[in-house]
Symmetry: C2
Subunit: 179 residues, 2 copies
DNA sequence: AATGCTATTTTGACACTGTCAAGATAATTT
DNA sequence: AAATTATCTTGACAGTGTCAAAATAGCATT
C-alpha cells in the first residue's frame, strides 16, 4: 500500500479493510499509527543494511570502486522505491511522532556500518589521516540523502540527471578523501 | 503559527480562528490549503534569495570565504527556522499537493542565483574548467539540504556537530572545486 | 472436560480534519 | 439608488486517529 499510495495515502481504516479486519484491530499490536509506521520503516533499514552488507562483501577492496557502486546503488534504490525511502527518512516518523527506540537503533546501525567502513579505509591508508571519519561519513551521506530527497520530492533536480549527478557526487567525495 | 506548531500542526480551522474569521474564509483567496502553504513557502524563498543576495554583495570576491559564509548561513537559517525550512522544502507542498507554478519559479530563481555565482567563478578561473557548474551546484546544494534535513528531522546528526560538519562540508566542496 | 484468564477483535463514539454548496453580508461599480 | 461583484458565514459530508467498553476467541490450569 505504501508503494501504491505513499505514506500519506495510508490510513488505519483503509489498511484494516485491506487486511479484512476491524478498524481498530491493529491497536492491540501497535501503540498507534506512528508505531506501526516505525516498524515498517525499521524493516526498510534492515533490508538496506543487508543490501549494503552484500555490496561490501562483493567489492570493499577498492575504495574508489566501492564508493561508486555505493552511490549508484543508493540513488537507484531511493529512486525506485521513493515511497519506502520517504517512510524511512521521512518527517512523519522522525519528527511528528517520536521514533521508536528500535527504529533509532536500526537506522543508526545502518549508518554505523558506513562509518566503520570509512574508518577501515583510513587505517589501510586509503584515506587521508587528517580526515575525521565521522564527519566525512555524515557529510557524504548527507549528500546522498539530499540528492534523493530533492529528486523524489521534485525540487530542482530531475530524473534525467541522476547518473551525471551521481558521478559528480563520487568525484566530490573522492576529491575530499585524497586531500 | 508555523514556527510554533510546525507545518503539520496547522489547520485551516485553527488558522481561521486565530485570524478571527470563519473556517472557510480563506478559500476565497486560495484555491485550497496547499495553495496557501505554497504562497507562504514562496515568501520564504524570496526571503532566502534576498538574504543570500546580500551575502553575495558583501563578499563574493573570495570564493573560499564566500562558500564558508554561505554554508554557515545556510545551516544557521535552516536550524533556527526548522519549520519554515520544512515548509519550503517539505513534501506536503512539493509532492502531495502539486506545487504552484509561482512557487516553482521562486525556488528555482533561488537555486539559479547559486549556479550563476559558481559559473562566474569558473569564468574568473577560480574553479576548474573541467567542472560542470550545474552538477557542481546540484551536488553541493544537495549536501546542505541533506544535512539540514537529517539534522532537523533528528536522524543521525545532532546539533552539537553543526559547526564541525559545516567545516567538513566546506572542505569537501573546495576539494572538488580545485581539482 | 470445564472453568478461568488472557489475548484479540469489534462496535460505538468523540473530536478533529479539508472542502463543497448555498445563503447572507459587505463593498464596489454603474 | 440599483445592480453587480467580492467576501464571508453557516451547514453539511466524508474522512481521519484513537479511546472505552462490550464481545469473541484461544489457551492454561484445575
Amino acid at each position: 500500500m505504501i508503494g501504491e499510495q505513499g505514506v500519506d495515502g495510508i490510513s488505519m481504516r483503509s489498511l484494516a479493510e485491506r487486511v479484512g479486519v476491524s478498524r481498530t484491530a491493529a491497536y492491540h499490536h501497535f501503540k498507534d499509527k506512528n508505531a506501526l509506521l516505525c516498524a515498517i520503516s525499521e524493516q526498510g533499514f534492515q533490508t538496506w543494511q543487508a543490501h549494503f552488507a552484500q555490496l561490501m562483501r562483493e567489492q570493499s577492496g577498492d575504495m574508489n570502486r566501492w564508493l561508486k557502486a555505493f552511490v549508484r546503488s543508493y540513488m537507484d534504490l531511493s529512486w525506485k522505491h521513493p515511497e519506502e525511502y520517504d517512510l524511512m527518512f521521512g518527517r512523519p516518523v522522525w519528527k511528528n511522532g517520536e521514533p521508536t527506540e528500535s527504529l533509532k537503533a536500526a537506522s543508526f546501525a545502518c549508518f554505523q556500518d558506513y562509518v566503520d567502513l570509512i574508518r577501515s579505509w583510513q587505517e589501510k591508508g586509503k584515506l587521508s589521516k587528517d580526515i575525521d571519519c565521522l564527519r566525512f561519513a555524515q557529510v557524504s551521506w548527507s549528500m546522498l540523502h539530499g540528492m534523493s530527497r530533492l529528486l523524489n520530492d521534485g525540487i530542482y533536480l530531475d530524473r534525467n540527471s541522476i547518473d551525471a549527478m551521481s558521478d559528480s557526487a563520487v568525484e566530490m567525495i573522492l576529491a575530499a578523501a585524497t586531500v
